[in-house]
Symmetry: D2
Subunit: 263 residues, 4 copies
C-alpha cells in the first residue's frame, strides 16, 4: 500500500503567486510527513449557490497557473464542467475531476476517460456508494482505468450532508482508490441563504475517521485566510494548521495500512 | 387562475409516429377534461444509471420530431444538457427544461434564460425548496421571467426519493408557476442496480395530493407499454389510464383553485 | 365510506373550562361541516424536549376532565405512556393513543389492545410505513382490531420531519383506518434548542393533501392562543380558524371518497 | 484519558453458562489488550420488530444471571424499560441503559438517575446529537452525573441508519463519556420484514472510525454463533473474532488519545 495521498489547495485559483505559495507550503508539509501530494484548485466555480458568488479566473488563465505549478514538480488536479474543458485541462494537469453534481453525465465521463488523464469522480450527494460502480464503469469503458472515487457526503434532510463511513469500503470494492473529501463533506449546502455554510472544525474529524479505515487519500481545501476566501471559506482549513494535520493523519495512515480491514 | 397544465409524454422519443400517437391521445384527453397540455419527450437521456441504458434518437432527429408535433398545434417541451443544446432546442420547442442534476450549473441556466423560451427547472434531489429562489434568479437575471419550477423528489436515504408537499407552496413564493412531477418523484434511483426502479402505482397519489394544493401543473411520463419502454418504465403511467387520471385531477384542480391555500 | 373523522383539541389539558370550550367549538364546527369529531387532549407530556417544559395536569385530574367532556356526548382520545395508564385511561376514554416514540413497545401495545378501547398508534419517526403492519399486529393479537394508524412525519436529517404521502395508502393496506396528523408532521423537533419548533402555516397543506387521498381522518392540535400555549404552540392552528379549515377539508373529503384511488 | 471501555456481550441472555462463557472470553480479550470491560446483555427485548421475535428470559431470571457474572468481578450493564425495572436492575448491575426509543421519556430518565447507578443513554434514531444535552440534563437533574452517551445511528430514509461521526465530538461537549455502538449502528431496522437485518461486516469499520476520534468506549454485541442467535444475529460479531478486533482497536485508541482532536 502507498502512503496517504493528500489532494489539497484553495477552493478557487486567485493568482499565480497565491497558488505557488499554497502549493509550496503543502508540498513541504507532505514531504516532511511522508505523504504524497497533489495540488488542487479550480479555475471556475460553475455552480455557486447564487449568481453573485465569485467564480474565479476562468479556464485559460487558470490552466496557465496550474501549468506553472506543475512545472515546479508538483502534480496538479482541477475540475472540469464540460467535454471541451475536459480535453483542454487534460493537456495541462495530472488529474481531472468530475464534480459531484455532474457525476452521472455520461458524455462528460466518457470524454474525461478518453483524455487518458487520471479521473477523480466525486460521488453525487444523491447517490448510494454502490451506485458509483456504474459511474466508474462509464469512464473505464474508454480503456482508462486511472480512476479515483471521492466521498464528499450525502444529502441528509435540507442544507445538510452526512458522511456514511461504510461508503469508503463499499466504493473500494470497485478496485479503484478511494479518497475522502474532508472539507466538502462538512459543507452546509445553501446554508447561508446566498451561499453555503460549513463546519470547518469537523474537517479533521472526517479526515481522521476515514484515514483510519485505510483509504488511499484525503482531499482538503485550505487557505491562508479562510474567512475572506472567495468561496468555501466556512469549511476550509487554515493553511497554518495543515502541517500538523497531515503529520497526525500520517500516523493513522501507517497504523491503518499495517492492519487492513477486511470488509 | 388558469386550469391545470399537464406536461406529459414518453420518457424518450422513439419515432415520429410514436410521438404523434401519444401527443394525440393526450391532447384529446386534456381537451376533454379542460386541462392545458404540453407534449414532453427527451431526445437524449444523458445521465442513465449505467452505460448500457438506451439514450434515444439524438438532438437533430429528435428536434425534427418535436417540430412536427408542434406544427400540429401542440406546445412541446424537451430537456437540454448544455449551452449549445439550449440554443438549438429553443428554436423548435416552447419550453426547455433543465434537468435536476444540472439545476445549479450557472452557465446553462444563463444560456437557457437568454433563449427567451419558457424554462422549466427541475429541483435537484439535493436541494431544499427555498434554494430554488437562487436558482430561478440565475435565469431571471437574463430578463427572462418565463420560468417554471418543478418538484421531483428529494434524496431520502439510499436509492429513495421523498416528496415534501411543503415544497410546493414554498417554491410558489417565488411567484413562478410550480409543477409536480408525479412520475420521477416515485423513481427509485439506481434501485435496480443497472437502472432505476419505480413505483408507478403511487404516481396518481403524488399528482392528486399536489393538485389539491392548487399548483399550476403536473408533469407525467406515459407510455402505451411501460414495461417495454426504453427508459423509466417502472414509473410511467400506462397511456390508456391517462384520460381518467386527467379528468380526476381536474376535479381536484377546480376545487383547489376555488379555495386557495394561504401559506 | 364514512365522512372524515376529525381528532382535534389542545396539545395538553389546561382546565375543565378550557377543555369544554375547545370541545364545544370543535364539535359545532364539525357538525356544521358534516365531519365526525373526537376531542383530543393529553394529561401528561411525558417526553418534552427539556426538563423545564410544562407537562400538564397529571392522569387523575386529566381523566376527570375527559370524563366530563365525554359525558356531554363528545367522544374523547388521550395518549398513554405505560401499561397502568392504558388500563386507567381506557375506563374513561373512547380512544387510547400510543405515542410515536413508544410504538414499538410490545407490552404497551398488548396492554392497550387488551383494554378493548380503540387504539390509535402513531407511526414512529424512525419507521417505514410498511413497518406498521407488524406494530398493528401486536395490538390485533389481543383480539382487538379497533385500530387506527396515524402518520406524523418521518425523520429527515436533523430537527426536521418529512411526510411521505405514499405512507397513507401503504398503511391503508393493513385494512385499518389511516389518520393524518397535520400539526405534529410540521413540528421541528428540538428545533428551538430547549423545545420543538413548528411551521403552523403548513398544517393545512398537510391536511388537505392527505384528505385528498381519501384517508379516514385528520388529527389537528388547536388552541385559542397558540403563541402562549404550554406546549406545541409553534405548530398548533388557532381555534378561530378551525371551522373554515374543517369545512374546506370536507369538500376535498367528499370528492376523494367519490373517486377512490386504487393503489 | 482512560483506555478504551469495551461494553460487549450477547444481544439477549440465554443462560447462566452462556453469559459466563461470553463474559469470560471477553474479559480475557480485554485484559490482554489493555481495555476496560463491561459485560452487556438484555433480559427482555421489549421492542422486537414483530410479536413473534424471541424476547428473552425475563427480568427476575436475567438479573440473577447478571448478579452471578458480576460476582466474578466483571462489571455488568443491562437495559431497562420502565421505572420499576430501573430500580430493580440498579440493585444488581453497574450500568443501567436507556434504550434509544425511550431516550426522551422524562420519568424513566429521572428514575434511572435516582438509582445512583451509571446511566448509559442511547441516542434516539430520531434525534440530533446536540439534542442529547437536554436528555442528559434530565438524568443530571437528579444529582447523578454518572452518565454515558451512546451513538447508534440516525434514521436515514427507510429501514436504514447512518452514523454521523460528528455526533461523537458534539456529544462529548456535554462532558460525559461518549460510546460508539458499532453493531446497532449497522442494523437495518425492519429490513427483513419481520425482523431487523444488519451488516455485520461493517461493525469493525464503525468501531475503528469512532475509536480513532478518541472516544471513551465501544459497545459491541457478540455471539459464538450469530446466525442462530435469538436476536440481532445479522449485526453481531462472532465471538472468536473479538480478541483480534479489541487488540486492533486498542492500537487506534492509544494513538487517538496521544493526539486528541480539538473540536
Amino acid at each position: 500500500d502507498q502512503p496517504l495521498l493528500v489532494i489539497a489547495g484553495p477552493c478557487q485559483l486567485e493568482s499565480l503567486d497565491h497558488a505557488q505559495m499554497i502549493a509550496g507550503v503543502m508540498a513541504e508539509a507532505c514531504a516532511a510527513a511522508g505523504a504524497q501530494y497533489v495540488f488542487k484548485a479550480s479555475y471556475d466555480k460553475a455552480n455557486r449557490t447564487s449568481l453573485s458568488g465569485r467564480r474565479g479566473m476562468g479556464m485559460e488563465a487558470g490552466l496557465k497557473v496550474l501549468e506553472t505549478v506543475r512545472a515546479s514538480g508538483i502534480p496538479v488536479l482541477t475540475d472540469v464542467h464540460d467535454i471541451a474543458q475536459a480535453r483542454e485541462a487534460a493537456k495541462v494537469v495530472d488529474v481531472i475531476q468530475i464534480p459531484a453534481f455532474l457525476c452521472r453525465q455520461t458524455d462528460l465521463l466518457l470524454a474525461a476517460g478518453e483524455t487518458g488523464a487520471v479521473v477523480n469522480i466525486k460521488k453525487g450527494q444523491f447517490l448510494a456508494p454502490w451506485d458509483m460502480a456504474n459511474v466508474a464503469e462509464k469512464v473505464a469503458s474508454t480503456g482508462n482505468e486511472n480512476i479515483l472515487l471521492t466521498e464528499r457526503g450525502a444529502s441528509f434532510g435540507y442544507n445538510t450532508l452526512v458522511t456514511d463511513m461504510r461508503s469508503l469500503p463499499i466504493m473500494a470494492r470497485t478496485g479503484y482508490p478511494v479518497i475522502m473529501d474532508a472539507t466538502h463533506s462538512v459543507q452546509q449546502p445553501g446554508g447561508l441563504g446566498g451561499s453555503s455554510g460549513g463546519q470547518r472544525e469537523f474537517a479533521p474529524v472526517m479526515a481522521r475517521a476515514a484515514v483510519s479505515l485505510g483509504i488511499a487519500g484525503v482531499f482538503i481545501e485550505t487557505h491562508e485566510a479562510p474567512d475572506t476566501a472567495p468561496s468555501d471559506g466556512p469549511n476550509m482549513i487554515p493553511l497554518d494548521k495543515m502541517a500538523a494535520l497531515i503529520a497526525s493523519l500520517m500516523a493513522f495512515d501507517r497504523l491503518a495500512k499495517a492492519d487492513p480491514l477486511h470488509v
